[in-house]
Amino acid sequence: MFNVERWQEIFETLRKNKLRTFLTGLSVASGIFILVILLGFSSGIENGVTTEFQQDATNRVSVRTRRTTKGYKGLNPGRRIQLKDEDFLALSNNYDEYLEYRSASFSIWGGQVAYKNETGNYRVQGVLPDNQFIENADIGRGRFLNNSDIDESKKVAVIGNKVKKDLFKDENPISKYISIFGINYKVIGVYYDPGGEREESQIFLPLTAARNAFNGGDNIRDMVFTVKMSDNFDEAVKRSQNITLAIENDLKEKHIIAPNDVAAIRVNNTLEEAQKIYSLIDTIKAVFWFIGIGTIVAGIVGVGNIMIIIVKERTKEIGIRKALGAVPSSIIAMILQEAIFVTMLSGLFGLIAGLGLLEIVGPQVDSPFIKYPQVDFRTAITTVFILVGAGAFAGFIPAYRAAKIKPIVALRDE
């Protein structure tokens, strides 16, 4: 393998047979190239969808109310359903063992927010401390709301990174005061959200403080919970569905809503959705792998095919070499070494070209469902080696047969 003389012989042969070398290389390089691109976009779709989902916890159950659409027990339709603290406490207590985080919110859309001369319109919500986990908010600076902020109705605010950038530019916002509809709140934290700018342009206040300021009484706009996960995803989905139903029934009973009134109370659980999306991602991945493996198989067959042609074409040359004193093993070694060298080189070339294209095009892809298309380098390099190994194996059979041919027969070949 590491015989310089033999390598020189091989390089010379390759140099003198450019078309053959090029064709072998092309089939291998394009196979790997296509595989890399496929895997890249498969991971891109996975990243995109996952990120789209990560803006909030996937195991959440949210409760929202509107007006009733059906009359029930003598009550007119069109009645507005208002959730209260007691609803939240009742649900939290009843399902305590199944719930992980719980938060109630009181929100003000389009809150006028100002810091010094900078102003902006942001969604302002009064929430509970658990909201941090439900929203998947990452604290960049300072802290999130805590229980004492709630208990003492402190006038503090946690702002999204977008809000911080708009109002504070490069200034450190912690302990500065922002005004919301003229009331001053002290900034105690800045958060990031994997959901991006839209999710980062909100301001969170303690639920109690928000209600005090905007005459909320003990009203709640909506409630959000997360369900405790279990190791078994299907089981968690089932539990999530059960709790969703139970909450809906409890609230309908308490607020006297027709059981078939779907508009008045909406309880959504995202875990079910998540399950659908994850199984979709799995399907997409499986399809891409299938196509990828198909490509590799086609590549292997291609290499094997070319090897057979090469051996056929070189039968006479092999006869000459044998007449001049080549032993069979040196014939096999010559053909295989040449094949491995070409497939390896072109495989790596295809790999680099594919990775390069992903590197250049990847960041330009502006679709919420495709993000950072990239390939695990180890997977890619493994496939190159598999292709080379399989190609060499495919080439070994004709090479072996060629080495077995009697020189007298090979010499007669025209």
């Binding site: 003389e5 020189q8 012989e9 010379e12 042969t13 003198k16 047979n17 006479k316 040359e317 006869g319 000459i320 070499r321 044998k322 007449a323 001049l324 004193g325 080549a326 032993v327 069979p328 093993s329 040196s330 009697k406 020189p407 007298i408 010499l411």
Partner: protein, 233 residues
């Protein structure tokens, strides 16, 4: 140099069996220039192939330079071919993507000689056949006579005991044939043992001994007055 006793060879094609060599006996001493003659089907090429270890006899013994040639596996046959024999073929059998120099150097590659030494030796033998200035040309750029001279240089390069030429002039015109024979005679004059298979009388008479084959048997084996090819060139 070569001793052959009672050599038999048959070819089997399906149910048919073709008895090609039916008991050949002959010896060649060192420095001889022998031609093997016969019409097609007489078994002359088969004999040469067996002598060249490209094919194996069914029966009989073959001794080359006091080495019994029998039960060869491919590896040993390859080594013997490389060490003992130089081949010249009717259709030249040069590797078409290699230059004249590289073709001549190829048997030396299988001898395990370094690249530098290979080139030097190959250049030396190319010069000997008068093609020094053609060393970097591909076979396709050479005439038939030149190709055969490259092939002769290649056969000589590994410094074999015996040179085996199978119809070396078969693909050449008369003038070129005589040039090639002149070269072969020159090499023989230096002491090399050479066997030439031919079916042309004039070529055969340029050797020193003619062995006539018919239907797998030697019918005549006689020394002749050598005609020098030089006078026709």
């Amino acid at each position: 140099m070569i001793q052959i006793k009672d050599l038999h060879k048959s070819y089997h094609m399906g149910s048919n069996s073709l008895h090609v060599l039916k008991g050949i006996n002959f010896n060649v001493k060192e420095g001889e220039l022998v031609s093997i003659m016969g019409s097609s089907g007489s078994g002359k090429s088969t004999l040469l192939n067996i002598l060249g270890m490209l094919d194996e006899a069914d029966e009989g013994s073959y001794t080359l330079d006091n080495v019994p040639i029998k039960n060869l596996n491919e590896k040993i046959a390859a080594r013997y071919r490389n060490e003992f024999l130089g081949f010249v073929f009717q259709s030249f059998n040069l590797i078409n993507y290699k230059s004249a120099l590289d073709n001549v150097a190829l048997p030396l590659f299988y001898k395990g000689i370094t690249r530098k030494e290979r080139s030097e030796k190959a250049a030396h033998y190319l010069e000997k056949v008068g093609l020094a200035e053609w060393s970097h040309h591909l076979p396709s750029e050479l005439s038939g006579g030149q190709k055969q001279r490259v092939a002769i240089a290649r056969a000589l390069a590994s410094e074999p005991k015996v040179l085996l030429a199978d119809e070396p002039t078969g693909a050449l015109d008369t003038k070129t044939s005589y040039e090639v024979m002149d070269l072969i005679q020159g090499i023989n004059d230096e002491g090399k043992t050479i066997l030439v298979v031919t079916h042309e009388d004039d070529i055969a008479h340029m050797t020193k001994r003619i062995v006539n084959l018919k239907d797998g048997l030697i019918i005549d084996d006689s020394t002749v007055e050598q005609v020098r090819a030089q006078q026709y060139v």
